[in-house]
Amino acid sequence: MVALARKTLVHEWRRFLPAILAVGFASLLQLLQAALVLGIFGSASVYITGSSADLWAGYPGTQSVNLGRPISEDVAMRLRMDPDVTKVEPFRWVDADWRGPRDTGGVSVFVSGIDTSSDAMMFSKALAPALRARLNEPGAVIVDKADLDSLGVNIGDTAAINGQRVRVVGVSSGLRALGGVNIVSSLETARVLDVAPEDAGMMTYFVAKLRDPHKARQIARRLSGSNTFGPYTVWTAKAFARRSQLYWMLDTGAGAGVLFLAGIVFLVGAVITSQTLIAAVIGSIREYATLNALGVGRGALRKVIMEQAFWVGLLGIVCSIVIGIVLLIIARNRSVPMEMHPLTAGACLALSMALAIVSGLAAMRSLRRADPASLLR
């Protein structure tokens, strides 16, 4: 079979370039938008994804990690009683007010009180053992290096949280928060900083490690069953992370914004791509009509158009992948929160291919003008 679609695409690349660029830009925009959303809202659950715990126990109905309420310390006992649980660890969340040494005004901060031992679960993926060990000093805190400016401090400086003196002993990376600034401290320091009277003798979360992480869902359901140790619910880490991300995405209206933008990008891309493909079909309409006169069916001619649309889509997608990877690397180096999962990337690329195919279908309609009788005059 003569590769009419491909040869025409190569020979008349200037004609097809706008379509390829339209698909490429649409694809790139979808990818970057998805990466940004995943990156920004991924930080809503950084406490969970940065830790190695399998289960999270917290106040019933908690919609996002940052909205935790105190639960009884007895819940830890309940978790430890379960034969599948190998380790339990407390996590204290304190909403606090920061006063830096420089003139930054008040900054709303989230203090994460964690176990500082080297084999602890909290932030095990985000903080190296040496860094955690520094938190053992009373009043020691770690902040994200991207937040140093907004906090107005440098390593070694002192500041005040809720009126208590703290000292920045180190910086982390990848611990940026949504709607505030993350501060990591030891459990002891966090307890001192927590000035709310109702939190006395209470803890925000207990996290647990399981013998077999694959059974997490089943064990979480089993542990959530009773209220004898006060109100609490147990989630798997995965479910709680998703819950937190979804809360932020819906609460901020970003989810709807993303869908709206995706729709616009799709529409604009499809208009440009279909117009370009239509122009290409019209440009060759006499040749198509001649083929039809010679008996090549309409169906076969439509296939040529769709093949062209497919190649346009593929080339556009390849362009967007290459540029997207470059931009992702640049973003990583500049601490811009961007993240990409294979499934999301696949969905974005599939959407771009759908755009090309829809445009091809639109262009196919103009084949009706390929009337061989019109060549006879």
Binding site: M1, V2, L4, K7, T8, V10, H11, E12, S284, R286, E287, A289, T290, L291, N292, A293, L294, G295, V296, G297, R298, A300, P372, A373, L375, L376, R377
Partner: protein
């Protein structure tokens, strides 16, 4: 000349066709009846607007008639669906148009191979037929060139090879020489003539080019949608003419 076949390859019986433009209805063909004999080069001549192209479109199954019957190779074209007509054209017909209508991206060889691949021919068979046809029209050495690298006459010869390679029983040509200069026009005329002679193809040609008249086996003069005369022309005086046509 009449020895080739007694069965007409093409038959039109009381064919009528009219076009409506705005409120005006103009009849292009008036109850036209015509037989085209197989294996001959038949020329339909006449001034522009006399309906000769419309007649060609109807006889070749590109356009339906408003009334009357059209039979091609024994098939009644009037009752066929669009798909059946496409299949009929694929199997039995070749076309040469005034414009060459070649795909800019394809080489001469690929232009000729393209319709063959849709006929279900194997790649090697399509390639062989395409090469043979291009050699027959004298383009053997230039078959790898793109249309932009060919002259007008060569492009028309590629278009003829494209039709010829299908080995059609019916070859339709619409003003095949009017976009060409004298020399190239003569070459194209000779090729069409040879196709009818050597392949036994029924060639129906529509033209107002007087040079074609001498080469036709039969000339139909048309005017205002009617056939005015039907005659066998005197053999051409040109030395290029082949001796068996006498």
């Amino acid at each position: 000349m009449a020895a080739t076949s007694t069965n007409p390859a093409l038959q039109a019986l009381n064919v009528r066709k009219s076009f409506v433009s705005g409120r005006l209805e103009s009849t292009v063909l008036h109850d036209l009846t015509l037989d085209v004999r197989a294996g001959e080069l038949t020329l339909i001549a006449g001034p522009s607007g006399c309906g000769k192209s419309t007649l060609l479109a109807i006889l070749s199954g590109l356009q339906p008639a408003d009334a009357g019957q059209v039979r091609a190779l024994g098939h009644e074209l009037g009752g066929m669906s669009m798909r059946a007509l496409e299949h009929f054209r694929l199997q039995h017909t070749g076309f040469v148009f005034q414009g060459f209508n070649l795909f800019p991206a394809l080489s001469a060889l690929e232009q000729v191979e393209l319709p063959l691949s849709y006929m279900g021919l194997a790649k090697s068979a399509a390639r062989r037929r395409a090469v043979e046809s291009l050699e027959e029209v004298g383009l053997g050495p230039r078959m790898q060139l793109l249309p932009a690298e060919l002259s007008g006459g060569e492009k028309q010869r590629v278009a003829i090879a494209r039709a010829l390679a299908k080995q059609p029983e019916l070859l339709f040509a619409d003003e095949p020489t009017s976009a060409l200069d004298a020399a190239n026009g003569q070459i194209v005329i000779d090729i069409l003539h040879r196709i009818a002679r050597n392949h036994g193809t029924t060639v129906l040609c529509v033209s107002h080019d007087p040079r074609l008249v001498g080469h036709a086996d039969r000339v139909l003069a048309m005017e205002d949608g009617r056939i005015l005369s039907d005659h066998v022309p005197t053999p051409p005086a040109e030395p290029k003419a082949k001796e068996p046509s006498a």
